[in-house]
Symmetry: C2
Subunit: 233 residues, 2 copies
Amino acid sequence: MERQARAVVVLSGGLDSATCLAIAIQRGFRVFALTFDYGQRHRREVDSARELARHYGVEEHRIAPLDFLRQIGGSALTDGRLDVPTTGVAPDTIPVTYVPGRNLIFLSIASAYAEVVGAEAIYIGVNALDYSGYPDCRPEFIASFTQTALLATKSGVEGAPFAVLAPLQHLGKREIVQLGSELGVPYELTTSCYQGGDLACGVCDSCRLRLEGFAAAGLADPLPYVLAQSTDR
Amino acid sequence: MERQARAVVVLSGGLDSATCLAIAIQRGFRVFALTFDYGQRHRREVDSARELARHYGVEEHRIAPLDFLRQIGGSALTDGRLDVPTTGVAPDTIPVTYVPGRNLIFLSIASAYAEVVGAEAIYIGVNALDYSGYPDCRPEFIASFTQTALLATKSGVEGAPFAVLAPLQHLGKREIVQLGSELGVPYELTTSCYQGGDLACGVCDSCRLRLEGFAAAGLADPLPYVLAQSTDR
Protein backbone atom coordinates (compact mmCIF):
# COMPACT_ATOMS: atom_id res chain seq x y z
CA MET A 1 0.00 0.00 0.00
CA GLU A 2 1.25 3.45 -0.86
CA ARG A 3 2.29 5.58 2.07
CA GLN A 4 -0.24 8.34 2.72
CA ALA A 5 1.32 11.76 2.11
CA ARG A 6 1.79 13.88 5.21
CA ALA A 7 1.31 17.58 5.73
CA VAL A 8 2.04 20.00 8.55
CA VAL A 9 -0.79 22.54 8.73
CA VAL A 10 -0.12 25.83 10.51
CA LEU A 11 -3.42 26.13 12.38
CA SER A 12 -4.07 29.41 14.15
CA GLY A 13 -7.72 28.66 14.80
CA GLY A 14 -8.92 31.47 12.55
CA LEU A 15 -11.08 31.33 9.44
CA ASP A 16 -8.19 31.12 6.98
CA SER A 17 -6.21 28.37 8.66
CA ALA A 18 -9.39 26.33 9.24
CA THR A 19 -10.09 26.51 5.52
CA CYS A 20 -6.51 25.56 4.80
CA LEU A 21 -6.82 22.53 7.08
CA ALA A 22 -9.99 21.48 5.24
CA ILE A 23 -8.13 21.71 1.93
CA ALA A 24 -5.25 19.55 3.16
CA ILE A 25 -7.72 16.95 4.47
CA GLN A 26 -9.69 17.01 1.24
CA ARG A 27 -6.48 16.45 -0.73
CA GLY A 28 -5.90 13.28 1.25
CA PHE A 29 -3.03 14.34 3.50
CA ARG A 30 -2.43 12.82 6.89
CA VAL A 31 -2.34 16.07 8.90
CA PHE A 32 0.04 17.17 11.65
CA ALA A 33 -1.45 20.41 12.94
CA LEU A 34 0.76 23.05 14.52
CA THR A 35 -0.53 25.94 16.62
CA PHE A 36 1.53 28.73 18.18
CA ASP A 37 0.76 30.18 21.54
CA TYR A 38 2.70 33.42 21.29
CA GLY A 39 0.92 35.50 23.87
CA GLN A 40 -1.49 36.89 21.31
CA ARG A 41 -4.45 38.79 22.74
CA HIS A 42 -6.78 36.49 20.92
CA ARG A 43 -5.68 33.29 22.68
CA ARG A 44 -9.14 31.89 22.24
CA GLU A 45 -7.65 31.04 18.88
CA VAL A 46 -5.68 28.25 20.57
CA ASP A 47 -8.90 26.69 21.89
CA SER A 48 -10.45 27.04 18.46
CA ALA A 49 -7.44 25.30 16.94
CA ARG A 50 -7.88 22.42 19.39
CA GLU A 51 -11.54 22.03 18.45
CA LEU A 52 -10.79 22.18 14.74
CA ALA A 53 -8.04 19.58 15.08
CA ARG A 54 -10.46 17.31 16.96
CA HIS A 55 -13.21 17.90 14.40
CA TYR A 56 -10.93 16.83 11.56
CA GLY A 57 -9.35 13.94 13.47
CA VAL A 58 -5.80 15.02 12.66
CA GLU A 59 -2.93 12.62 13.25
CA GLU A 60 -1.31 14.90 15.80
CA HIS A 61 -1.84 18.43 17.07
CA ARG A 62 1.11 20.25 18.61
CA ILE A 63 0.84 23.56 20.42
CA ALA A 64 4.17 25.33 20.45
CA PRO A 65 4.65 27.95 23.15
CA LEU A 66 6.47 30.97 21.81
CA ASP A 67 6.69 33.36 24.71
CA PHE A 68 9.54 35.27 23.18
CA LEU A 69 7.26 37.12 20.77
CA ARG A 70 5.28 38.45 23.70
CA GLN A 71 8.46 39.26 25.64
CA ILE A 72 9.84 41.47 22.91
CA GLY A 73 6.48 43.03 21.99
CA GLY A 74 6.43 45.40 19.05
CA SER A 75 2.86 44.57 18.01
CA ALA A 76 -0.65 45.50 19.10
CA LEU A 77 -1.40 41.77 19.13
CA THR A 78 1.25 40.95 21.71
CA ASP A 79 1.70 44.17 23.64
CA GLY A 80 -1.16 45.04 26.01
CA ARG A 81 -0.11 48.71 25.96
CA LEU A 82 -1.01 49.13 22.28
CA ASP A 83 -4.62 49.38 21.16
CA VAL A 84 -6.05 47.13 18.47
CA PRO A 85 -7.23 49.44 15.69
CA THR A 86 -10.89 49.47 14.68
CA THR A 87 -10.81 52.05 11.93
CA GLY A 88 -9.36 50.08 9.07
CA VAL A 89 -5.87 50.16 7.69
CA ALA A 90 -4.49 52.74 5.29
CA PRO A 91 -3.45 51.20 1.98
CA ASP A 92 0.23 50.32 1.58
CA THR A 93 1.09 50.71 5.23
CA ILE A 94 2.05 48.00 7.67
CA PRO A 95 -0.60 47.78 10.40
CA VAL A 96 0.23 48.00 14.11
CA THR A 97 -1.07 44.43 14.37
CA TYR A 98 1.96 43.29 12.38
CA VAL A 99 3.95 40.87 14.58
CA PRO A 100 7.70 41.08 13.84
CA GLY A 101 8.95 37.98 12.08
CA ARG A 102 5.78 36.01 12.79
CA ASN A 103 5.38 33.90 9.67
CA LEU A 104 9.14 33.57 9.31
CA ILE A 105 9.26 32.02 12.79
CA PHE A 106 6.08 29.97 12.30
CA LEU A 107 7.30 28.49 9.02
CA SER A 108 10.78 27.82 10.44
CA ILE A 109 9.34 25.81 13.30
CA ALA A 110 6.91 24.13 10.89
CA SER A 111 9.91 23.12 8.78
CA ALA A 112 11.58 21.42 11.74
CA TYR A 113 8.31 19.64 12.49
CA ALA A 114 7.86 18.63 8.84
CA GLU A 115 11.34 17.20 8.82
CA VAL A 116 10.80 15.16 11.98
CA VAL A 117 7.44 13.69 10.89
CA GLY A 118 8.53 13.24 7.27
CA ALA A 119 5.94 15.59 5.78
CA GLU A 120 5.88 16.37 2.08
CA ALA A 121 4.04 19.66 2.54
CA ILE A 122 3.51 22.56 4.89
CA TYR A 123 0.18 24.39 4.56
CA ILE A 124 -0.23 27.99 5.63
CA GLY A 125 -3.33 30.15 5.24
CA VAL A 126 -1.82 33.43 4.08
CA ASN A 127 -4.03 35.18 1.57
CA ALA A 128 -4.47 38.12 -0.74
CA LEU A 129 -5.95 40.38 1.91
CA ASP A 130 -3.07 39.89 4.30
CA TYR A 131 -0.34 40.67 1.92
CA SER A 132 -1.29 44.24 1.24
CA GLY A 133 -0.23 44.94 4.79
CA TYR A 134 1.88 42.11 6.17
CA PRO A 135 5.20 41.58 4.36
CA ASP A 136 5.42 38.00 5.63
CA CYS A 137 2.25 37.04 3.79
CA ARG A 138 3.46 37.97 0.29
CA PRO A 139 3.97 35.28 -2.35
CA GLU A 140 7.60 36.37 -2.80
CA PHE A 141 8.25 35.72 0.88
CA ILE A 142 6.69 32.24 0.72
CA ALA A 143 8.77 31.39 -2.35
CA SER A 144 11.99 32.69 -0.83
CA PHE A 145 11.30 30.91 2.45
CA THR A 146 10.89 27.60 0.67
CA GLN A 147 14.32 27.93 -0.94
CA THR A 148 15.91 28.87 2.37
CA ALA A 149 14.24 26.04 4.29
CA LEU A 150 15.46 23.48 1.80
CA LEU A 151 19.00 24.78 2.14
CA ALA A 152 18.69 24.61 5.94
CA THR A 153 17.38 21.11 6.38
CA LYS A 154 18.45 17.53 6.04
CA SER A 155 15.25 16.91 4.06
CA GLY A 156 16.34 19.45 1.48
CA VAL A 157 19.93 18.24 1.28
CA GLU A 158 19.04 14.57 1.11
CA GLY A 159 16.52 14.98 -1.66
CA ALA A 160 13.29 14.60 0.32
CA PRO A 161 12.18 18.23 0.22
CA PHE A 162 8.86 19.58 1.40
CA ALA A 163 6.74 22.16 -0.37
CA VAL A 164 5.31 25.22 1.34
CA LEU A 165 1.73 25.53 0.09
CA ALA A 166 -0.44 28.60 0.47
CA PRO A 167 -3.65 27.61 -1.31
CA LEU A 168 -5.47 30.79 -0.27
CA GLN A 169 -2.67 32.99 -1.58
CA HIS A 170 -4.76 34.61 -4.29
CA LEU A 171 -8.15 34.51 -2.63
CA GLY A 172 -10.03 37.27 -0.83
CA LYS A 173 -12.30 36.66 2.15
CA ARG A 174 -15.40 36.10 0.00
CA GLU A 175 -13.73 33.35 -2.01
CA ILE A 176 -12.26 31.79 1.12
CA VAL A 177 -15.66 31.68 2.85
CA GLN A 178 -17.26 30.26 -0.29
CA LEU A 179 -14.60 27.59 -0.69
CA GLY A 180 -14.68 26.71 3.01
CA SER A 181 -18.44 26.43 3.02
CA GLU A 182 -18.30 24.04 0.07
CA LEU A 183 -15.79 21.97 2.02
CA GLY A 184 -18.01 22.02 5.10
CA VAL A 185 -15.61 23.94 7.37
CA PRO A 186 -17.22 24.30 10.82
CA TYR A 187 -16.78 28.08 10.97
CA GLU A 188 -18.60 28.16 14.30
CA LEU A 189 -15.43 26.65 15.81
CA THR A 190 -13.11 29.37 14.49
CA THR A 191 -12.02 32.62 16.15
CA SER A 192 -11.05 35.76 14.28
CA CYS A 193 -11.50 38.69 16.68
CA TYR A 194 -8.24 40.39 17.69
CA GLN A 195 -9.75 41.46 21.02
CA GLY A 196 -10.15 37.89 22.20
CA GLY A 197 -13.35 38.44 24.23
CA ASP A 198 -16.18 35.96 24.74
CA LEU A 199 -18.08 37.50 21.86
CA ALA A 200 -16.42 38.76 18.70
CA CYS A 201 -16.23 42.58 18.78
CA GLY A 202 -17.28 43.03 15.16
CA VAL A 203 -15.22 46.20 14.76
CA CYS A 204 -11.51 45.21 14.78
CA ASP A 205 -9.91 44.79 11.37
CA SER A 206 -10.09 41.05 11.59
CA CYS A 207 -13.80 40.96 12.51
CA ARG A 208 -14.64 43.49 9.83
CA LEU A 209 -12.86 41.57 7.08
CA ARG A 210 -14.54 38.37 8.21
CA LEU A 211 -18.01 39.91 8.31
CA GLU A 212 -17.51 41.49 4.90
CA GLY A 213 -16.40 38.13 3.54
CA PHE A 214 -19.52 36.32 4.78
CA ALA A 215 -21.77 39.14 3.59
CA ALA A 216 -20.19 39.17 0.11
CA ALA A 217 -20.53 35.38 -0.08
CA GLY A 218 -24.20 35.70 0.88
CA LEU A 219 -23.68 33.45 3.89
CA ALA A 220 -24.36 33.89 7.58
CA ASP A 221 -21.40 33.96 9.94
CA PRO A 222 -22.24 31.41 12.67
CA LEU A 223 -20.22 33.29 15.33
CA PRO A 224 -21.92 35.44 17.97
CA TYR A 225 -20.98 39.15 17.85
CA VAL A 226 -21.29 41.88 20.44
CA LEU A 227 -22.82 44.23 17.86
CA ALA A 228 -25.28 41.72 16.48
CA GLN A 229 -26.48 41.06 20.01
CA SER A 230 -27.02 44.77 20.73
CA THR A 231 -28.97 45.11 17.48
CA ASP A 232 -31.15 42.11 18.30
CA ARG A 233 -32.41 43.64 21.52
CA MET B 1 26.19 62.36 18.28
CA GLU B 2 25.88 59.46 15.92
CA ARG B 3 23.66 56.63 17.07
CA GLN B 4 25.72 53.60 18.06
CA ALA B 5 25.02 50.69 15.71
CA ARG B 6 23.19 47.77 17.28
CA ALA B 7 23.67 44.07 16.81
CA VAL B 8 21.79 40.98 17.92
CA VAL B 9 24.33 38.26 18.75
CA VAL B 10 23.13 34.65 18.80
CA LEU B 11 24.97 33.49 21.92
CA SER B 12 24.90 29.78 22.66
CA GLY B 13 27.59 29.97 25.30
CA GLY B 14 30.03 27.89 23.26
CA LEU B 15 33.46 28.78 21.97
CA ASP B 16 32.28 30.01 18.56
CA SER B 17 29.47 32.26 19.73
CA ALA B 18 31.70 33.73 22.48
CA THR B 19 34.24 34.65 19.82
CA CYS B 20 31.50 36.10 17.68
CA LEU B 21 30.30 38.23 20.59
CA ALA B 22 33.86 39.50 21.11
CA ILE B 23 34.03 40.47 17.43
CA ALA B 24 30.75 42.41 17.57
CA ILE B 25 31.93 44.24 20.71
CA GLN B 26 35.28 44.99 19.13
CA ARG B 27 33.54 46.41 16.06
CA GLY B 28 31.74 48.86 18.33
CA PHE B 29 28.23 47.43 18.29
CA ARG B 30 25.80 47.88 21.15
CA VAL B 31 24.97 44.21 21.69
CA PHE B 32 21.63 42.51 22.29
CA ALA B 33 22.50 38.92 23.12
CA LEU B 34 20.03 36.13 22.39
CA THR B 35 20.30 32.63 23.84
CA PHE B 36 17.99 29.71 23.13
CA ASP B 37 17.00 27.20 25.75
CA TYR B 38 15.79 24.37 23.53
CA GLY B 39 16.11 21.44 25.88
CA GLN B 40 19.64 20.71 24.67
CA ARG B 41 21.57 18.20 26.76
CA HIS B 42 24.27 20.75 27.25
CA ARG B 43 22.14 23.30 29.06
CA ARG B 44 25.17 24.48 30.96
CA GLU B 45 25.59 26.45 27.77
CA VAL B 46 22.80 28.74 28.95
CA ASP B 47 24.69 29.53 32.17
CA SER B 48 27.84 30.12 30.14
CA ALA B 49 25.92 32.50 27.90
CA ARG B 50 24.76 34.43 30.97
CA GLU B 51 28.32 34.77 32.25
CA LEU B 52 29.63 35.84 28.85
CA ALA B 53 26.89 38.44 28.51
CA ARG B 54 27.77 39.79 31.95
CA HIS B 55 31.48 39.78 31.17
CA TYR B 56 30.94 41.88 28.06
CA GLY B 57 28.35 44.16 29.65
CA VAL B 58 25.86 43.72 26.82
CA GLU B 59 22.91 46.06 26.53
CA GLU B 60 20.38 43.27 27.00
CA HIS B 61 20.49 39.48 27.19
CA ARG B 62 17.36 37.55 26.33
CA ILE B 63 16.94 33.84 26.88
CA ALA B 64 14.25 32.46 24.61
CA PRO B 65 12.68 29.18 25.68
CA LEU B 66 12.09 26.89 22.74
CA ASP B 67 10.60 23.75 24.19
CA PHE B 68 9.16 22.69 20.91
CA LEU B 69 12.52 21.47 19.60
CA ARG B 70 12.78 19.10 22.57
CA GLN B 71 9.14 18.05 22.19
CA ILE B 72 9.60 16.91 18.62
CA GLY B 73 13.07 15.42 19.15
CA GLY B 74 14.85 14.08 16.11
CA SER B 75 18.36 14.85 17.41
CA ALA B 76 20.84 13.31 19.83
CA LEU B 77 21.11 16.76 21.41
CA THR B 78 17.44 16.98 22.32
CA ASP B 79 16.34 13.36 22.60
CA GLY B 80 17.60 11.56 25.71
CA ARG B 81 17.09 8.19 23.99
CA LEU B 82 19.79 8.85 21.39
CA ASP B 83 23.48 8.63 22.32
CA VAL B 84 25.89 11.45 21.61
CA PRO B 85 28.55 10.01 19.30
CA THR B 86 32.18 9.99 20.41
CA THR B 87 33.76 8.38 17.38
CA GLY B 88 33.87 11.27 14.95
CA VAL B 89 31.64 11.91 11.99
CA ALA B 90 31.96 10.34 8.56
CA PRO B 91 32.68 12.93 5.87
CA ASP B 92 29.68 14.22 3.91
CA THR B 93 27.07 12.82 6.27
CA ILE B 94 24.75 14.72 8.54
CA PRO B 95 25.55 13.84 12.17
CA VAL B 96 22.92 12.55 14.63
CA THR B 97 23.57 15.74 16.61
CA TYR B 98 21.94 17.72 13.80
CA VAL B 99 18.90 19.52 15.26
CA PRO B 100 16.13 19.89 12.65
CA GLY B 101 15.71 23.47 11.56
CA ARG B 102 17.84 24.85 14.39
CA ASN B 103 19.62 27.77 12.76
CA LEU B 104 16.59 28.54 10.61
CA ILE B 105 14.54 28.93 13.79
CA PHE B 106 17.30 30.75 15.69
CA LEU B 107 17.84 33.27 12.92
CA SER B 108 14.10 33.77 12.44
CA ILE B 109 13.65 34.67 16.08
CA ALA B 110 16.82 36.78 15.96
CA SER B 111 15.28 38.65 13.01
CA ALA B 112 12.18 39.50 15.02
CA TYR B 113 14.38 40.67 17.88
CA ALA B 114 16.59 42.70 15.53
CA GLU B 115 13.52 44.38 14.14
CA VAL B 116 12.13 45.29 17.56
CA VAL B 117 15.42 46.72 18.91
CA GLY B 118 16.34 48.35 15.59
CA ALA B 119 19.53 46.35 15.04
CA GLU B 120 21.59 46.75 11.88
CA ALA B 121 23.21 43.33 12.20
CA ILE B 122 22.69 39.81 13.45
CA TYR B 123 25.85 37.89 14.37
CA ILE B 124 25.94 34.10 14.30
CA GLY B 125 28.97 31.91 14.96
CA VAL B 126 28.60 29.28 12.22
CA ASN B 127 31.93 28.21 10.82
CA ALA B 128 33.78 26.09 8.32
CA LEU B 129 33.86 22.99 10.50
CA ASP B 130 30.12 22.97 11.04
CA TYR B 131 29.11 23.21 7.47
CA SER B 132 30.60 19.97 6.33
CA GLY B 133 27.91 18.29 8.41
CA TYR B 134 25.16 20.74 9.24
CA PRO B 135 23.24 22.10 6.25
CA ASP B 136 22.05 25.12 8.26
CA CYS B 137 25.64 26.32 8.74
CA ARG B 138 26.50 26.62 5.05
CA PRO B 139 27.21 30.03 3.50
CA GLU B 140 24.47 29.47 0.92
CA PHE B 141 21.95 29.00 3.71
CA ILE B 142 23.03 32.21 5.47
CA ALA B 143 22.80 34.16 2.20
CA SER B 144 19.38 32.76 1.34
CA PHE B 145 18.11 33.35 4.85
CA THR B 146 19.09 37.01 4.68
CA GLN B 147 17.04 37.50 1.51
CA THR B 148 14.04 35.74 3.01
CA ALA B 149 14.22 37.67 6.28
CA LEU B 150 14.25 40.97 4.46
CA LEU B 151 11.17 39.95 2.47
CA ALA B 152 9.46 38.90 5.71
CA THR B 153 10.01 41.96 7.84
CA LYS B 154 8.97 45.55 8.11
CA SER B 155 12.67 46.46 8.39
CA GLY B 156 13.31 44.94 4.99
CA VAL B 157 10.25 46.48 3.34
CA GLU B 158 10.77 49.93 4.80
CA GLY B 159 14.40 50.16 3.78
CA ALA B 160 16.07 49.62 7.16
CA PRO B 161 17.38 46.13 6.53
CA PHE B 162 19.70 44.20 8.80
CA ALA B 163 22.66 42.11 7.70
CA VAL B 164 23.25 38.54 8.86
CA LEU B 165 26.96 38.32 9.64
CA ALA B 166 28.88 35.10 10.12
CA PRO B 167 32.45 36.31 10.70
CA LEU B 168 33.72 32.79 11.48
CA GLN B 169 32.23 31.39 8.30
CA HIS B 170 35.55 30.49 6.73
CA LEU B 171 37.55 29.76 9.86
CA GLY B 172 38.45 26.42 11.41
CA LYS B 173 38.77 25.87 15.17
CA ARG B 174 42.47 26.77 15.23
CA GLU B 175 41.87 30.16 13.60
CA ILE B 176 38.85 30.79 15.82
CA VAL B 177 40.82 30.06 18.99
CA GLN B 178 43.69 32.24 17.76
CA LEU B 179 41.39 35.12 16.89
CA GLY B 180 39.47 34.80 20.15
CA SER B 181 42.63 34.73 22.19
CA GLU B 182 43.83 37.92 20.52
CA LEU B 183 40.50 39.50 21.40
CA GLY B 184 40.78 38.29 25.00
CA VAL B 185 37.74 36.01 24.97
CA PRO B 186 37.34 34.46 28.43
CA TYR B 187 37.19 30.87 27.16
CA GLU B 188 37.00 29.60 30.73
CA LEU B 189 33.40 30.85 30.75
CA THR B 190 32.36 28.90 27.64
CA THR B 191 30.86 25.40 27.39
CA SER B 192 31.30 23.10 24.43
CA CYS B 193 30.68 19.54 25.64
CA TYR B 194 27.54 17.88 24.22
CA GLN B 195 27.19 15.70 27.32
CA GLY B 196 26.58 18.68 29.58
CA GLY B 197 28.28 17.26 32.68
CA ASP B 198 30.20 19.21 35.34
CA LEU B 199 33.45 18.46 33.57
CA ALA B 200 33.81 18.39 29.79
CA CYS B 201 33.93 14.77 28.59
CA GLY B 202 36.77 15.34 26.14
CA VAL B 203 35.51 12.67 23.74
CA CYS B 204 32.29 13.93 22.14
CA ASP B 205 32.65 15.53 18.70
CA SER B 206 32.35 19.01 20.14
CA CYS B 207 35.03 18.45 22.84
CA ARG B 208 37.37 16.80 20.36
CA LEU B 209 37.12 19.64 17.84
CA ARG B 210 37.67 22.17 20.61
CA LEU B 211 40.70 20.36 22.02
CA GLU B 212 42.18 19.95 18.55
CA GLY B 213 41.66 23.67 17.95
CA PHE B 214 43.50 24.72 21.12
CA ALA B 215 46.28 22.20 20.46
CA ALA B 216 46.74 23.39 16.86
CA ALA B 217 46.83 27.00 18.05
CA GLY B 218 49.45 26.07 20.64
CA LEU B 219 47.24 27.33 23.43
CA ALA B 220 45.92 25.72 26.61
CA ASP B 221 42.19 25.19 26.93
CA PRO B 222 41.26 26.68 30.32
CA LEU B 223 38.32 24.26 30.79
CA PRO B 224 38.56 21.26 33.12
CA TYR B 225 38.16 17.88 31.39
CA VAL B 226 37.29 14.44 32.74
CA LEU B 227 40.12 12.87 30.77
CA ALA B 228 42.73 15.43 31.74
CA GLN B 229 41.81 14.81 35.38
CA SER B 230 42.16 11.03 35.04
CA THR B 231 45.53 11.53 33.38
CA ASP B 232 46.66 13.84 36.15
CA ARG B 233 46.13 11.23 38.82
